[in-house]
Symmetry: C2
Subunit: 327 residues, 2 copies
C-alpha cells in the first residue's frame, strides 16, 4: 500500500470548494467563512492532507528548514548533542525541521551556506562556536540572511550586531567561586584556556569578579594557569596551583577539571556538566541547553514570521551549579 499523495485539489473536491479556498483556510483563515472553514478542516483531516513543502517553497521561497552544523566531537566532552536535541524539538513545535551539515572551518562552512542556500534554501541558520573574527556572521549578514548564534559575537565593535542566545559564563564561574568562598576557601585558583578565546575570557572574568568582591586581592594573575583545554594540561596546571597555595580550583571546562582532579584532593569545579562530570562526581556548571534551544527558535521565528524587529534579540541565560562530590 503505497501512501497515496493527497493534494490540495483532493481536499477542495472533497469539501466542494476551490483549491484557493483550501489554501486560504490553511494560510489566512480569517478570509474564509466559519462554516466553509470547518468543512475544509474536516476534509483535510479525513484525507490526511499535509502541505507539500516543496511546492510551497517553490511559490513562497520558504522551506521551513533550519540549518545547523553538527560539531566535531573531539574528546566527546561537549554538550552540543543536548542542544541539538532541544533545537529539533522546539523547531518542530514551531513547524520547522532541522537540516544538518558539517564543516571543518569557517571557510568551508561558508561554502556550505552557499551550497545549502542554492539547493535547499533553509530559512535560517543556527551557528554555534562563535569566536573573534568570525567571518560566518558577516557573510550571512551581508546577504540579509536570517540567522541566530548560540554564543555572543565576541569582539565586534561596529555594526556587527546580530541576534544571539548565550549562556553567561562569567555568572557561572562567579557562582562557583562564591560557592568555594562560602566553604571557607580563600586561595581559589583558576585553570583556563589561552587568552583570546571569547568563551574562555568570559568564564575567567567571573572568577576575577567574585574574588574581587570577597577575598584577598592579587589572586588573579597569580593563582591562574592557561591550558590548551586538555585533561593532561589541566592536571599539570593544578599541580602548580596547589604548590602555589591554592586550596580550591575553578576550571574553564570539565576536561580541564577532570585533569585537575588527578592532581590532588582539592575541591574542583568544572564547566558544562558533561556526562563525564556526572560519572565521576565532578561539581560543574550546567548550561540550560533546552532553554537555549527554545530561545534560538523563538528568536528565529520572530525574525522570519513577525515583522523583523528593529533591534536584534539578545538572550543571556544563567548556568546553574550542580554540586557533587568534588566541591
Amino acid at each position: 500500500m503505497m501512501p497515496e499523495k493527497v493534494t490540495i485539489a483532493d481536499v477542495a473536491r472533497r469539501a466542494n470548494v476551490s483549491r484557493q479556498t483550501v489554501s486560504n483556510v490553511l494560510n489566512s483563515p480569517d478570509l474564509v467563512r466559519e462554516e466553509t472553514r470547518e468543512r475544509v478542516r474536516q476534509a483535510v483531516e479525513e484525507l490526511g492532507y499535509r502541505v507539500n513543502q516543496a511546492a510551497r517553497r517553490m511559490r513562497t521561497g520558504r522551506s521551513r528548514l533550519l540549518a545547523v552544523r553538527i560539531e566535531q566531537t573531539q574528546d566527546g566532552m561537549n554538550v552540543f548533542d543536548r542542544f541539538l536535541h532541544g533545537l529539533t524539538e522546539s523547531a518542530a513545535k514551531a513547524g520547522y525541521r532541522v537540516i544538518l551539515y558539517s564543516a571543518d572551518d569557517d571557510r568551508s562552512e561558508i561554502a556550505t551556506f552557499d551550497d545549502l542556500l542554492g539547493a535547499y534554501e533553509p530559512d535560517a541558520f543556527v551557528l554555534t562556536g562563535t569566536h573573534y573574527g568570525d567571518v560566518r556572521t558577516s557573510w550571512l549578514a551581508e546577504r540579509g540572511l536570517a540567522f541566530v548564534t548560540f554564543g555572543r559575537p565576541w569582539g565586534m565593535p561596529e555594526g556587527g550586531d546580530h541576534p544571539w542566545v548565550d549562556v553567561d559564563g562569567a555568572a557561572g564561574t562567579a557562582a562557583a567561586t562564591r560557592h568555594l568562598l562560602d566553604a571557607g576557601h580563600r586561595r581559589i585558583g583558576f585553570i583556563g584556556w589561552p587568552e583570546g578565546s571569547g568563551v574562555g575570557d568570559d568564564r575567567r572574568s567571573g572568577w576575577v569578579r567574585a574574588l574581587g568582591e570577597d577575598a584577598e586581592d592579587s589572586e588573579a594573575g597569580v593563582l591562574e594557569r592557561r591550558t590548551d583545554g586538555s585533561a593532561a594540561e589541566g592536571e599539570a596546571a593544578a599541580r602548580e596551583l596547589i604548590a602555589a597555595g591554592a586550596t580550591a580550583l575553578v576550571c574553564v571546562s570539565d576536561s580541564v577539571a577532570l585533569g585537575a582532579m588527578q592532581a590532588g584532593p582539592v575541591p574542583v569545579i568544572g564547566f558544562d556538566d558533561t556526562p563525564v562530570a556526572a560519572a565521576i562526581g565532578l561539581t560543574s556548571l550546567s548550561q540550560p541547553l533546552s532553554e537555549a534551544a527554545v530561545r534560538c527558535v523563538r528568536v528565529l521565528t520572530r525574525l522570519l514570521e513577525d515583522d523583523s524587529p528593529d533591534k536584534p534579540d539578545h538572550v543571556l541565560l544563567r548556568p546553574s551549579l550542580v554540586i557533587r562530590r568534588t566541591a
Copy 2:
C-alpha cells in the same frame, strides 16, 4: 547584496543552448556532445548555479533528504552523536542531507514518518535502536519506503527482512572475555541488561561463547547478573559477583561498567567506548561508528539509485577493544 537566484534558464542563456540541454548535461551527460557539455559546465561554474531541490523534487519526487531521529540523551553515555556526525558527512558526499526529527516512542515515531513524508518526502529513513516487536520497520516496509536500520531486526522470523547495518556485539564481548582469559582469569563475570533486549542478549552471548571455548563450564548463569543499565545497579551486581568469586567483569555497557568499577579493584571491561570510558580509564569496546554511518549511506544509495537489489544488504561490523587501565 541578496544572493540572486540563478536558474537553469540563466545557465542556458549564458552557454547559448536550450534549457533542456542544460538539464541533460546535469542528468544525462552522455546525451550531450563533449564540446557543448564543457561549455555548459563552465556556465554553471561561472554563475554558481545549484539545482533547486524543491523544483527537482516536484518533478521527480526525490528530495535528497535522509531522515534520522535524534535520540534522547539519558545519562549521556551514548554514542549516537558520533554516528550522526558520520552520517551527515557521508550523506553529504553522496549528495544527500540529513533532516532530524525526535519521537518518544514507536507510535509517535510512526506518526512523524507520516508527517515527514507528507511535508518533506525524505527519500529514506535511518532507524536506530531496533528492538523486538519493532513496528516501525514493518510500517515502512508495508508502504514500500526506503530505509536502513543501524541495528539488526531482533527476532523477525518470517519475511520481515530489511537492509541493516550493525556492530557485532557478541564478537566484542567474546574478544573482551578472551582478553581476560589471556591475562589468566578463570572466573569472569558478566553484567547485563534484562533478558529480551536484542542488543543485550547478543552481547551476553559473546561472553558465553568465549567461556565455553576455554574456561571452566557453568560460569554462565552463575557469574552473571542482569541490571537496568544504571551505574548503581552495576555496582551492586559487581559486588555480588565478586563475592561469588569473580576475578574480572565484562559489562554490557560503560554505564554499568562505571558502577562496577566502584565495587572493587577488579578488572572491568565496558562497551561503547564513550567519552566517560576514556575519561576514567575504562577498557571498553569501541564501535566503528563512522564506518557504520558510511555503510548505512551506501546501503541506501544502492537502494535508491541502482536498481533495487533483490536481497537487502546486511552489514555486520566488528567492534575493537580499547585497552586502558581497568583491564
